[in-house]
């Protein structure tokens, strides 16, 4: 089981801020492919991964990172703080 969090327009497209999923995805990209196949609005949120960032257990990571041992994954657009 993994907690999946969405922020900003990723959250708006998917329609919820977080969910708990059962997955066998080995990497972040595998999980994205699973999510895209779930429904139209997931496909829309994940259509262009160059406009997305990912954090694993609250650390910025990359799409080819393995998910083994990860408890929390977050998807969001590039940050705009400051």
């Amino acid at each position: 089981m993994i907690d999946v969090l969405y922020f900003a327009w990723v959250r708006e497209r998917i329609g919820l801020p977080r969910e708990r999923l059962e997955t066998t995805a080995a990497t972040v990209m595998d999980l994205i492919i699973e999510l895209r196949a779930r429904a139209e609005h997931y496909a829309w949120a994940f259509e262009d991964i160059t406009s997305l960032r990912v954090a694993l257990d609250q650390e910025l990571s990359s799409f080819d990172a393995p998910l083994a041992g990860v408890r929390e994954i977050a998807f969001f657009p590039p940050m705009t703080g400051g």
Binding site: F7, A55, Q58, A74, P77, P78, M79, T80, G81, G82
Partner: protein, 146 residues
């Protein structure tokens, strides 16, 4: 080090004075404050989303790095989230060092990192529209100088 991620407004002046009073041995204090810009007459409002937990950790890591790299006497970051009205203060950074070059460099470094590496997302609200602020090439490029 002082890091605060908060919904409440903060007082730039009071925090600057407290910071300067604590910065024993410093010769130079730099502060930066970001404000919601008034876009041509009609004050915009802003909604800021963040990633509770990660935000504090990411900022503390940046501040640690700045303190070490520029031998800072002290550093402070305050960043708000939630709904902000036009002209309200969004965030502030303060750095204290023996010499001005270090205080300036550290403040600019922290700003560049906060812009692109702290998990905040801004949405600009006007009378008839709401739009997520897009990250810019310039902000991403600014990180390369450090």
């Amino acid at each position: 080090m002082q890091v605060s991620v908060q919904a409440e407004p903060f007082d730039l002046g009071a925090l600057s004075n407290d910071f300067a009073a604590r910065a024993s041995g410093a010769g130079a204090i730099v502060t930066f404050c970001g404000l919601v810009r008034d876009n041509g007459g009609s004050l915009a409002a802003m909604e800021i989303e963040h990633y509770p937990g990660m935000t504090e950790k990411a900022i503390a890591a940046m501040v640690d790095q700045a303190i070490t790299r520029w031998a800072l006497v002290d550093a402070l970051v305050v960043h708000r989230y939630g709904r902000l009205a036009g002209a309200e203060a969004i965030m502030m950074v303060a750095t204290a060092a023996r010499h001005r070059a270090d205080a300036f460099a550290a403040a600019e470094f922290l700003m560049d990192y906060l812009k692109s590496r702290a998990p905040f997302w801004k949405k600009e609200l006007s009378a008839d529209a709401a739009e997520w602020v897009a990250a810019t090439q310039a902000d991403e490029a600014a990180l390369k100088r450090w």
